[in-house]
Symmetry: C2
Subunit: 407 residues, 2 copies
């Protein structure tokens, strides 16, 4: 008799964004004439950069010819892309990353979800609150938590991100093994300074823990003092894995390409207390359970690093940051305390009331979809997230409608 | 102190095809002038069908425009593709599959590797021998085995596929929970009859087990009496999950698209003995750890079902089957017992000697790369697999060289 993985049964309700989609669908059914502006889910809206489109087409053409056709590629990604990544995203900023430490994948969601498989089910997990739900859910599925009670899973060390700590969590007081950090942060849009990140790296080194650093929003950093990669921090290569994505930096949410960096020096321990390098473990997983990213997609990603691609991506991000600035200014003017939106596409807004209540209010009164902060964890209660991923015209209209509804 | 998943440390050596690649590279270094013909790894060599290329380009164009751009798609795949699959691949053959039971993914390797996560780590696993290594390795990683000893992992029920049973394993005598079957088979090229498959379905129903049916090579079936889908067998919807791929049917090994069917009636049990539907569990996993297949790739896959796409894919497969026929005829003529090659792209050859020895012999004497059967399990010892995935000209030359070397 086949038994299910009982841990799946602990998972709460359905995925946050599905819940939002259902409420929006119900609203649209009830008000067929009302137009809704979506500033909820963090999905880009502008087309792919022309440089990526051109490279994409060229690679599709290759796939149609005997000479140019490519079958299975290296599971870890083609060298042309891994080398471009190591050179442009890291070494150009003084962070040492070798091409063979880069694992190209079809999404940072997959990688941040799968990485925990490499570690003991007994590992003590530290997860920020509020948080991108994938970190938490994948650890629930793996059995690293107890049951869900009062809005939290037992067995997880939650790292509160609140106004008191300016949305950068403090070091945990108990022992932890695996630490999820995400900066610029989703959902709060907060950033971490070089000094703060150094404190975390030192903590991980001292406690033989590992930091899983999600830098999916790195492209939005404009403050020259902020670190773009955790590998800019001395000692991080031994205690940190970094996740990056083209989803937000180049509009690849529907095209699918991302990567994960696992430095050769990164280690965990076996039961006998010996150090085990993580790189070969991740490589084994990647080769066993993954078969590489579509070749034309990898060529489209490579084009991000061309001079034209770089200029186009910068313009794309500048546009979203301009929107974020409009949102933050409008909400601040209405008297709401805000964080984010300057080095991130998200503005985190203290609504002064229940998150889902504020969600419903914005939907009903202004026809604007936000993401309720409570969906990201207990510390998100009372907040909403507004996303800059829309056209400037829609953002202006949404803010005007919110002004009228709440002003 | 972070501990690794100790089960990873049980994994044997590296992945079979990496080992082959190393031996071939060493041979080529030692003999820079000698040309090698690869009939080893099961990777297609012909370009994508023109219908797929056309649809691929069109979708890339969409991604470059504001109106046509698509961000995150449904994790389960777009309806246009799920509906085409359900209609063409199943209902057209009298097998009932609904579109919402189809989960589009980036590879059958990923899906066959990930599916085991839904089940208890205590589940008893039945795996054919010889076998595609992914089924085994992913269960080792999950901790469902003991150590590796004498060529096998403890705790696994191996289903011997030998000449005695015509390479279709007999039902296990002990209780098992999760059964991997693959037909047309990789690596042996053997097929399963409707009657034999019915026996397996009935067995699974009687023992409350689940069959994971890998039909990645379905497109090669030419015998009208053979089942194409396990859902052609009465009762299978309650006890079987089926995996399909465009890798071999349409040359998508480097393009990446596949799908998995989880019927609504499929169940396993919770600890209390209650039936739990598997569909919502897989849906939850898919939404949490995966973000959908690249939109242009899904459009390229959809084109497989157009009249032009169907004709082009049939021609593609016919070409590979023609090659397989040449391989089987040549090896049979040389006195080797062969199976496969008629409804599958693989010919499984009894070499009458050690598999790796035969591999080295073919490489050294004929400059031909095969896959040593021993790499697929203990029952593969003494066999090699030759693959039809090459040009007709290369297959003819390879067979001529083998005739000269061994004739």
């Amino acid at each position: 008799m086949l038994q299910v993985n009982e841990h799946y049964l602990k998972l709460q309700a359905s995925y946050l964004f599905s819940d939002i989609a259902k409420r929006v669908a119900a609203f649209q059914d009830a008000h067929p004439g009302r137009e809704v502006i979506k500033l909820g889910i963090g999905d880009v809206t502008n087309p792919l950069p022309p440089a990526c489109i051109e490279a994409f087409h060229k690679a599709v053409d290759e796939m149609g010819t005997v000479a140019g056709f490519r079958g299975y590629g290296p599971e870890q990604g083609y060298d042309f892309l891994r080398e471009a990544i190591a050179a442009h995203d890291f070494r150009a900023r003084g962070a040492l990353v070798e091409a063979d430490e880069v694992f190209v994948s079809d999404g940072a969601k997959c990688d941040t979800g799968n990485i925990q498989e490499l570690f003991s089910t007994g590992a003590k997990i530290a997860i920020p609150d509020p948080v991108y739900p994938v970190y938490l859910d994948t650890n629930v599925m793996a059995g690293r938590t107890g049951v869900y009670r009062d809005g939290r899973y037992e067995g997880i060390v939650y790292l509160d991100s609140t106004r008191a700590n300016n949305f950068v969590p403090e070091l945990p007081r108990e022992e932890v093994d695996l630490i999820y950090l995400c900066f610029p942060n989703n959902p709060t849009g907060s950033t971490i300074s070089r000094e703060q990140l150094t404190t975390w790296v030192d903590f991980a080194r001292d406690s033989r823990a590992l930091i899983l650093f999600d830098a999916a929003y790195e492209a939005f950093i404009r403050d020259p003092d902020l670190p773009h990669s955790i590998y800019e921090i001395p000692g991080a290569r031994e205690v940190a894995i970094e996740f990056r994505s083209y989803s937000k930096s180049a509009g690849f949410t529907g095209t699918r390409c991302a990567y994960t960096v696992v430095p050769r020096e990164c280690t965990a321990f076996d039961a006998a207390g010996n150090r085990q390098a993580i790189h070969p473990l991740w490589n084994r997983r990647h080769c066993t359970k993954f078969n590489g990213v579509s070749y034309p997609v990898q060529r489209a990603a490579e084009a991000v690093y061309s001079p034209a691609g770089q200029a186009q991506c910068t313009a794309l991000i500048d546009g979203y940051l301009h929107n974020a600035g409009l949102i933050r200014a409008a909400m601040t003017e209405l008297g709401y305390a805000c964080v984010g939106g300057d080095n991130a596409p998200y503005v985190w807004i203290d609504g002064g009331r229940d998150s889902w209540g504020f969600f419903d209010l914005l939907l009903e009164k202004a026809g604007v979809v936000c993401t309720p902060g409570a969906g990201f964890g207990r510390c998100g209660q009372g907040y909403i997230r507004l996303s800059a991923f829309n056209s400037e015209a829609n953002v202006i209209r949404a803010m005007e409608r919110i002004r009228q509804a709440l002003g």
